[in-house]
Structure formats: structure tokens, C-alpha cells
Symmetry: C3
Subunit: 199 residues, 3 copies
Amino acid sequence: MLLLVLELVGVTAFAASGALAAVRARLDIFGVCVLGATTALGGGVLRDLLLGITPPTALTDGRYLAAALVTSLLVFRFNPGVARLRRSVLVLDAAGMGLFATGGATTALAAGGSALAACIIGMTTAIGGGVLRDVLLREIPTVLRMEIYALAALAGSVVVVAGTAAGLRPGVASVFGALLATGLRGVALRRGWNAPLAR
Amino acid sequence: MLLLVLELVGVTAFAASGALAAVRARLDIFGVCVLGATTALGGGVLRDLLLGITPPTALTDGRYLAAALVTSLLVFRFNPGVARLRRSVLVLDAAGMGLFATGGATTALAAGGSALAACIIGMTTAIGGGVLRDVLLREIPTVLRMEIYALAALAGSVVVVAGTAAGLRPGVASVFGALLATGLRGVALRRGWNAPLAR
Amino acid sequence: MLLLVLELVGVTAFAASGALAAVRARLDIFGVCVLGATTALGGGVLRDLLLGITPPTALTDGRYLAAALVTSLLVFRFNPGVARLRRSVLVLDAAGMGLFATGGATTALAAGGSALAACIIGMTTAIGGGVLRDVLLREIPTVLRMEIYALAALAGSVVVVAGTAAGLRPGVASVFGALLATGLRGVALRRGWNAPLAR
């Protein structure tokens, strides 16, 4: 139950970031909803495709889609005001990223994936939605360019895989992983940390 | 038999729109064929991946690919002339969209998908090819920006799902769904209807 | 054993092309690794998704990912110098393209795909990584625009399918196919051959 609530918080944050970007790109109300839903659910759909879980959970459990659509419509309706919440969206997005990374890694392990596959699929679950959002809006994915995002997602996934291998219960390993990923991302945001660029 | 003919009309229209866009973007003859085929078959491939139907039908039944390639080559060959047919392509494209949406929803229901999954997969089948076309040509997907396209596709899918649930035969529900989707799109085109933008 | 070595050469060449492009686009070190790995492994992941092989081989056999990451880090570290190797990367990339095309077609036949599916999936395996690289960096895919690339990949796949149908052992057909694809691409590069554009 708590997990579902946390996941829905993540979905809401991701949908808000997608819908805000769509409004800025002058998409119409339907495009804003599609982009919000794609950002919120795209990572999970990629995870399920990579694991052979069809149809993807996001298309069978309506609660995720409902949360994404309600959020997108609220962003559309209250647009100039909601843009001022961009900072709060970033914080919620960091929480969602951590939950998606550890949830993706846990799902991959439960589906019989190898440790390596679980790390990659966890990271893909966390960054996939944001990558799709940026590709659809014709931008180079932000999560690959700045502010330690994909690295934090990978770190969270690795904690889940290593913790489970060390005998921790999946739920406990996920809590540690999500805290690490979200914390790392939060510190990077606050301090303006960036990964190095090539010369 | 009639259904196959209708589907091939849709494939032809989608291939023409992809090939025309590729010619405008200065792709070579092979790029024009790849883009025409991707636009025509991409939505169906996405549908099959989401439903776990592998390899996708578009890769096993050669008639769809043949129709897409012949269309692409004709567009390439008769280019400056065929561009004048753009209005006719839009009309055929509206018909193809309606058929793809209802065909996608029907396939999803037949594969055991839930009502929600069938609605989303029907819409994805109809808009997927156009989204891939625009992403490959570095444009923000037209179908998310203007002239009520994705909404019409969703409406057609919903009719199939609701009609089937109400006891209609899938074929009958599909006819109603396709007529609604294509009609809605046609009226939107003719009247210049657009969905609202955010402030 | 020889096949594995050849495949890893292909992975290395593709990873180098992705990492070089990422460095030029000012991605950070983590983005360079993600782009190098996506370019190197993306075609194989698409192949496996189209064939229903989940999780994809590239996520379960760590050697491919390791080769891609080491290459990406070397490109990042030695950047201004390694850019001078661009010509060598193009040659290795042609070899990788031929191996990926024939490997993809062989895998598709082994998984029970039809002749048509094997041709398309072989070509997709060879060009998929480069298409993902260019889409993520917001460019129209090079392989669709110039210098006979996708056509060479298709030719290699067709040789595998036709040769196997004619009774050749898959390994022998693959050698012929890879030589044809790589040779065709090499000649096109050297002579500046391009496929025709529309008027």
C-alpha cells in the first residue's frame, strides 16, 4: 500500500515534468496529456518490454494512467501558475527517479533477470520516460547532459541488486537504493554538481 | 478480404505521407523507402510488441511491406507531381488512421488485453507510425500538435471496446469506430479545428 | 570463438562512433557511456525485442556491455587525439555493420522467423544502433541520408537468407553476407557513392 502511494507520487512528478515541457512546446491539450503519460509511464513500459511482460503493467492497471492524466490536465489548466512550482517538481522528480530505479531493478530480479540486466533495466526504468519526453520534443535528453541523473539511478539499482545478493529482503534493499539515488540526485541539484565533460 | 483491402489502403496512405516527408528532408532513395515503410508499419509493430506478438505481423506478412515499398518508390519517382496530391493523401491518411485504431483495439482485445489496454494500444497503432516519422525527421510529432488526430484515434478505439463490451460483433464495432475516427478527423481537417492550447 | 571476437570488434567500433558523437554534442562522461552503449547494443536489443528474446542478450551477457563501456571511456579520456582516428572508426564500423546484419539475420532464422522477417531484422540489427544514436543527438539518421549504408546491410542479410535457403551452412552464408555488406560499404565510402535523391 505504501509502495503504491510512493509509486503514484513518482508517476505524478514525472507526468508534471512532461506536461510542463509539452505546454512550453505549444502542444495542444491532447498532446500535453500524451506527453505527460509518456513521461510518467514510458520507463515502466520499456522495462516490461525488455522483460517480456506484455501487455505492460502501465496499460493494464488503470491507476497509473489515471494519475498521469489528472496531473497533465491540472498542469494544462493552471499553467502559468504551476510553472512556478518547477522547483518542487524537481524534488518530487528526484523521489520518483529513485523509486522507479529500485522498482525496475526489483521487477527485473523477480522476473529472473541477471544481476547485470537488473542494474541496466532499473536505470532504464528511471530515465526512460525523461528520454522519451525530450526526444519527442526534439531535445537532446537532459538526463544525459547534466546534473548527475542517470548515474544516481544506476547507483540505486546497484544497491538493490547487491543488497538482494547479500541476503537483504527486496523491500529493504529497495528502501536503501531509493534513498541513495534520490539523495545523490538531491545533493547534485542543490550543489550544482555535474559530471565531467571531455576536453 | 474487404478488411485486407482497407488495411492496404491505410498502409499506402501512411507510406505516402512518410515518403513525401522523407523526400522533402532530402533523404536518398533508400532512406525514402525506410521512412515510408516505418511510417506505414511502425504503429502495427508497436502494437505487436506491446501485446507480445513476435515477430510482428508486418514482418511476416509480406503484403504490407510490399505495399509500403511500392508506394514509397512511386512517391520518389514522381516527386514534384505527387506533392500536389497532398490533400488526397490527407484524406486517405484519415481513413488509414481510423482503420489502424480500430484494428489495433480489436487485435488487443483478441490477444486478451484489458479494455484500457485496448484503447491505448488502438490509439498507439494509429499514431505510432506518424510519431516515428516525425522523430526520425527531427520534428515535434504533428499528431500531438494540431488538428485533432490522436483524439480521433482514441475515440475510434473506445467505440470498439465499448461496442464489444455491449455485445456487438467485433467487425460491426470496428466499422462504427473507424467511421467515427475518420469522420472526426475529416471534419477537423475541413473546418480547421484544433484542440485548445494552454495559456 | 572467432565469431565472438568479430562481434566484439563490431561492438567496439559502434561504441566508438557513439561516444565520439556524444563528446561532440557536449554530453557528460555518463552520457558518453550511455550513448556509446546504446549505439553498440541498440541494434541487438531491437533484434531481440522483435524476436521475443527477453531479456535481450546484450543485457545478460556482460562482455558486450563491458566492451562498449571501456571503449566509451577511452574515447572520453583521449578525446582530442581519438577524433583523428575517425577514418579508422569508419572502417571498423563497416566491418561491424556487416557482422551485425548477418548475425541478426542468422538469429532471426534460428528463432523461426520467416525469410522476409530475417532480412528486415538483419538490417535493423545493423542500422538500429546508429539510428538511436542520431535520434538521441537530435540529428536525422545519417544511415538514411548518405553513403549506402542501410542498403549494404540489407544486401548482407539477403545473402544469409538466400544462402541458407540454398543449403549453405549458416556460418558460411554469414561469411559471404558480411563480406558483401562490408565490401559494398567500403567501396561506397572510398568512392563517395551515394544513393540517388529525388528531384
